[in-house]
Point group: C2
Chain length 494, copies 2
């Protein structure tokens, strides 16, 4: 982007250079009417010169224009990452549709095990190893120094960490009532294979999405027994058996029994660290390094979520999940809601890339597991079966296709979305499913840097334009203190 | 390539324009000593002008230079495909090392099932579907018209087809004697799992590479019985049992018994059709369309092997194989042998891309099978097991991960090599293993267009330069009839 702006600049300079120099200063310095031969010949020479010059400059500009189509994004990787200039900010604000002149670099994985050298900090070369192609996943040992890891953990502790998931989920009951579904309708929704009975895994799949309590088949059998739900005791619920249960029977039973933190989807504490101007130098450095690593336009990284720091105590875990959901035409991105014209109940965080930093080496457990990495096919339904639940990172991490051991300073990063084939964000990559295995010994500290990009290019461009206008307004008013512009509610739901 | 040449051109023009115009013509046209004020001021103006001009041109040239790094190749895709101008031909012939200024386009697969529209012939849009990512494999229905398919089959029949594999393989025995290995050494080489016994699949793996006769476990048991090789009849050969067999015992036994065509690796007939100037228009059109499809520099396609047309009769097959082998530093490519400085016993065809055309729809069988497409891992040894041999396309096509049904006019194409991550050919893609399933009803006609590229960029560049010089020499001598330059022995071993 930055270089692309040279075109008009260069043109301006050359035009003024050629138009003003020969026409004004000579007449001021010498008396032009002294010799008519002189002035006529002078004029001829200058005009010939001027035309040759202009033709050459135009030819070069044309060449520059046609050769700077595709890889602007890859070239802008070296632009100063502290710049808060969004790619669209110099376009005329009256233009409602933005030309798609940015192409997002997507790093090539080549094959599993491929190692490429990357230059991220002066005087040092990092090795980046491809861990999987589905998702496109890389590992970079030594991405953060020992001191940087320490600073990030200390800053997080200073700020204070909060529970990543609350114990009691409110508002779920109301939603169910609002939807106004009959037991038959709910039964049908749950009965994935439509065999007229609810298998344990059919209940489990639903239950996790709904109330954030992680049920195991054993839990469920206990609940069946406690509620006397499964009269014929075959582990299956018929419509008749299901009808006898109230809407929130499971949740009430669990709350009566007492839910332990280990029974939640996430068992960790986290906080957010802003990385904009005025932030600790280490945090700004990390953001700059992530920009170099991902080779994305700095503005996209600048306008992404702050750094999330997470602490898992012994016994902590995070069951397998997607960092960002699928995007359909009616889905809004949390970060560009500002620029969305419509209101929609569907929203996701649109985290194109996840960069995960290990801030310490864990004594036991705590691996990052990718249950279906590089699987030939993705079958959501078969992830949860009655005997093995691949999403359960307390039990089945050993059955994941890929596990990354936490090592201090190492960064892993992956793409949560595919390419659209035209240089922008495409569909969700379902293979990016991952979780944090249970920490068996010690504490685990990690940080997450997400890069948020709206798969709708127009929305992303509008959003960036809005932010840059807002910034200009603030600058005009002298309000330069808080330049790290964030949609205020960007991490409300995290 | 083409655009890149503008840099020196533009520079020459601008320099001559600025250096000669102001210095020579004015003095000729006007008497410069008439007015000293005039000439001094004239000099000042011209010098200022000259410097501003030069600085601007230099700045622009720098920008052009730094922005024309990566995607030259993708931009040259629309260059006329009939042109026989190799990318290196404009470079000075005295330069021994070639700058790597060509970047090969690699089409993005995105995900299995992804469909992208491609424009290959005027007024028509084709749909290209991603069939697998490992190998990167696409299908384009209707790539050839019904008439084009007919013409290609007729041209092949006119030329005459030859057996794809001869029944008796000569020269193998001599090689074994040359290598001068003891039975113990051979036994050790064959014993992959080093358990001191030869399993059936260990013999099979070796046998196929050596003599082109496709042995099944049943064949092998027959041979054991016939030769009384397996004294204890446990299906395993011990070193003692192996020692009693002569080097060529298996082959001799088979030849005594009589080998059927169905017992060979390939059971088909084929011929080659040149596609250069003077060839049938349909053949030239197909080459041009392949160039558009693959988005590779036309010179690379022009200098590749001719079109191979293959006919499988009922019962015909081609067991799973790689179209091109792995490339190590000492491996030569058949097509660039002309430019290789060294002689090496290792040679492969360096077929970067295979484009396979189905010329007819087959009544039964004849699918193209990719046994390990998109497998999570590639394990050569486990392909052949005692019970299931995934390479056997007469028996186990149904166990292949992917099968493409032959449909008239459809083209499939895949990359036999990975990218090297810097825009050139990298390692062999082992997942590109494929074969032709047995034709159960009717006849099967296919054509293959291979695009040969040397993974050693320097060798490819030298080769193209040599060819272009040879062409120039021929043109100078008025020998313009045969401009389709081919290394004469390029398909000797096929």
């Amino acid at each position: 982007m930055t270089e692309n702006q040279e075109t008009p600049d260069a043109e301006d300079k050359s035009l003024s250079g050629s138009a003003t120099l020969p026409l004004r200063p000579p007449c001021e310095r010498l008396s032009c009417h002294k010799s008519s031969v002189c002035s006529r010949s002078y004029f001829v020479v200058v005009m010939v010169f001027f035309h040759v010059y202009i033709i050459n400059v135009i030819a070069l500009l044309f060449y520059v224009h046609y050769s700077s189509g595709q890889d602007d994004a890859s070239r802008s990787r070296d632009a100063p990452s502290g710049s808060h200039q969004p790619p669209e900010s110099r376009r005329p604000p009256s233009k409602p549709e933005f030309l798609r002149d940015v192409s997002l670099t997507r790093i090539e994985g080549i094959r599993v095990g491929h190692v490429q050298k990357v230059s991220l900090v002066p005087g040092k070369v990092h090795e980046m190893r491809t861990l999987s192609l589905k998702p496109l996943l890389f590992e970079i040992p030594g991405f953060l120094s020992k001191d940087e890891c320490r600073v990030v953990m200390q800053l997080a502790q200073l700020k204070g960490l909060m529970e990543s998931q609350l114990m009691v989920q409110d508002g779920q009951e109301e939603l169910a009532k609002e939807l106004n579904l009959s037991p038959e309708e709910i039964f049908n929704l749950l009965d994935i294979n439509q065999d007229g009975q609810l298998q344990l895994h059919e209940i489990l799949t639903h239950s996790r999405v709904r109330d954030g309590i992680w049920l195991t088949p054993e839990n469920l059998r206990e609940i069946y027994a406690g509620l006397k739900a499964d009269k014929d005791d075959n582990g299956l619920l018929s419509l008749e058996e299901f009808r006898l249960l109230s809407n929130d029977a499971f949740q009430r039973f669990l709350l009566q029994q007492g839910v332990k933190r280990s029974q939640l989807v996430r068992n960790s504490r986290h906080t957010w660290l802003y990385q904009g101007k005025g932030a600790h130098q280490v945090l700004q450095d990390i953001k700059a390094r992530v920009t170099r690593l991902t080779r994305l336009p700095p503005a996209l990284v600048d306008l992404s979520e702050p750094l999330q720091v997470v602490r898992y105590e012994e016994g902590g875990h995070y069951h397998a999940h997607h960092d960002s959901g699928p995007v359909y035409p009616e889905t809004a991105c949390t970060h560009t809601r500002l620029a969305a014209n419509t209101s929609t109940p569907f929203e996701t965080s649109c985290r194109y890339i996840t960069v995960l930093f290990y801030l310490n080496s864990v004594d036991g457990g705590g691996e990052t597991a990718f249950p279906v990495a590089d699987n030939r096919t993705y079958d959501e339904v078969s992830l949860i079966q009655n005997d093995v639940d691949l999403l359960d990172t307390r039990r089945n991490c050993d059955k994941s296709n890929l596990r990354v051991k936490p090592t201090r300073g190492t960064a892993v990063f992956w793409y949560n979305y595919l390419s659209d084939g035209r240089g922008w964000v495409g569909e969700q990559d379902e293979y990016a499913l991952h979780g944090g295995c249970m920490v068996t010994h010690g504490t685990k500290w990690v940080a997450n840097k997400w890069i948020n990009i709206d798969p709708d290019y127009q929305r992303q461009a509008r959003y960036q334009q809005l932010v840059s206008q807002q910034q200009e307004d603030e600058d005009d008013e002298g309000l330069t203190l808080n330049t790290d512009v964030q949609s205020p509610s960007i991490h409300q739901d995290l």
